[in-house]
Symmetry: C2
Subunit: 143 residues, 2 copies
């Protein structure tokens, strides 16, 4: 569903601790080819097997983006529920890909949390797949 | 955006009191050509100008659908936030058209309320418009 093509266009991946630990828990080979930054104030070290592939990073989201930009990493893929929410809250998201599995779950963790800002996007592309899933790409308006 | 084509395929419209009062508040000519049923336990009468066009209906959603079916009204368009939620809660929705205006509002009334059921849908069609809006049609799975 376009994930391969997408990841080839990014400079680095930023994920939260929980997502990182979830990926580790899969016990598969490390799946990322781009540098991964784990955004955490809690973790102190990473498994030695991931040295050179994963770095820990902390501080606020705005500084984090600036820090990576200074290192030449401009196109960032932001992953993980809370991490995405923090980046949205700071209006740091230029583009979102939403893949909708159309099941009304009834409960769970919402993707978008309450905020006192409203942020306009534009739908750039939308398609649906034979398995009933929809994927839409939204671009931040006026950017 | 396909609304005209859509309404020509329905037998009747069911809306809640709030939606009904909102439409009345527009002070435009009555916009519906199909019979409208206002689902309310509160309203007792309708404006005389709408007699023959609007009927009040009460009772639970399952009975309401049965009642209209008995009257030969099979394809119902369900309108209004709370009304839609009640119908979803009873798994009475066969098809949903979701039009997404891609603005993260930050707050407001959610379309889907907490429930203890999960209900599977399939995406039947999805398109995006030049104005940045997406419209997707979801069909209840296994129906």
């Amino acid at each position: 569903m376009g994930y391969q093509a997408f990841t080839s266009s990014i400079d680095a991946l930023v994920m939260g601790r929980k997502t990182f630990e979830t990926v580790l828990g899969f016990e598969i080979e490390w799946p990322y080819t781009v540098p991964v930054f784990v955004w955490t104030s809690q973790l102190r070290e990473i498994p030695t097997s991931l040295e050179g592939k994963v770095q820990l990073i902390s501080g606020n989201a705005v500084n984090l983006v600036q820090q990576l930009k200074n290192a030449g990493l401009n196109t960032l893929y932001i992953d993980g529920g809370k991490t995405i929410q923090s980046f949205l809250e700071e209006d740091l998201i230029d583009e979102m890909t939403l893949t909708t599995i159309p099941v009304l779950l009834g409960s769970g963790i919402p993707l978008f949390t309450p905020s006192n800002k409203s942020i306009p996007f534009m739908c750039k592309a939308s398609q649906h797949y034979a398995n009933g899933v929809t994927q839409s790409t939204y671009k931040r308006k006026d950017r």
